[in-house]
Symmetry: C5
């Protein structure tokens, strides 16, 4: 599951009806690539999160008819490695 | 869900019958890579969109027997981050 | 669906039995990466095609027990963008 | 199945409920990219492992309702090639 | 289906039980990236092969409960393009 940072919310007036009223966030990778993900857990802007891709992303929406390929799996507080410490932005 | 820009429509006389009469668009990523996607929502040329990949792309066609791996999920009007503001082309 | 060019046919005496007698083509991307794809529509050498990946690739074979992850979806004649015009090789 | 190195465990107070109490590890590729994976076999920090992605990652959790796209498949002791010998860290 | 070269066999004392006694090979891409794949057809070291990814990789094991995302699809003897001729190592 990729590690990305939440950078904002998407305003999207023309969207596929099978996305329903999902909360769409913009996420950015360490190398600057942006993607759109569904957020069901309420991650704050600036949080580092890991994301679930593929069929599991639909299952993680509670309703597998929601047509996403990316859903936030969790907010990373930190990990316990010496050189890879990641502090969550306050 | 990747963020891409619609750059045109594909003219394709020899196509797989299980794509039926789907509307095929050419999309381009920020780093210049082009892909073909099905469009069921009517995105205009120049629009920035996010795309649904994998099994969800077929579900998003209404008919899962349509053999696509990429379908447009929505047109991005803008997002609310300071440095990542994206204006939709007029 | 990725855009690739057909560069030849694969000769492959030792192949997985569940590929049956599929027509295997070698395709090359714009950046030079080669892949093997099943072709059910008869694309000519030199043609630019788009390819269907994942579960949809198996469905596109007519028989989902054929174990492919890539099948040709259509031959691109051209697209209608000013700067991205792609002429099919004669 | 990609080859990655275990670099630590994730502390994650806000996580998707369908991940249940899975053991979440941070893995790093040879080129420095980090990902989060479920570990059901108990790989030690520093171990080189190969990972299972996609639907197979959920099946490898024993419970396919666990919404992961990455699960550790095995710890690599070494492989038998002359130039690619990989010693497991002690 | 990606084109990779077989470089060796994996010795792996701690492996996921749902991989059963599968034959695990290390494969390397043209740009040097290594991956682990199941081999059911008996490819020799040094052979160039194409690999099946995703759900099709499990189907290609005969037993879809085997949790792989990569299985060898065939050994490439050569292909018939002028500039892309690939000789199998003797």
């Amino acid at each position: 599951m990729e590690i990305l940072q939440v950078v904002g919310s998407v305003v999207c007036t023309l969207r596929h009806p099978d996305l329903q009223h999902s909360n769409l966030r913009v996420l950015r990778s360490a190398n600057g690539k942006t993607q759109v993900s569904i957020d069901t857990i309420g991650a704050r802007d600036g949080s580092w999160v890991f994301v679930i891709s593929g069929t599991a992303a639909r299952l993680a929406c509670g309703d597998p008819s929601i047509v996403t390929d990316l859903t936030i799996g969790g907010v990373i507080d930190f990990w316990d490695e010496d050189s890879g410490q990641l502090e969550e932005p306050a």
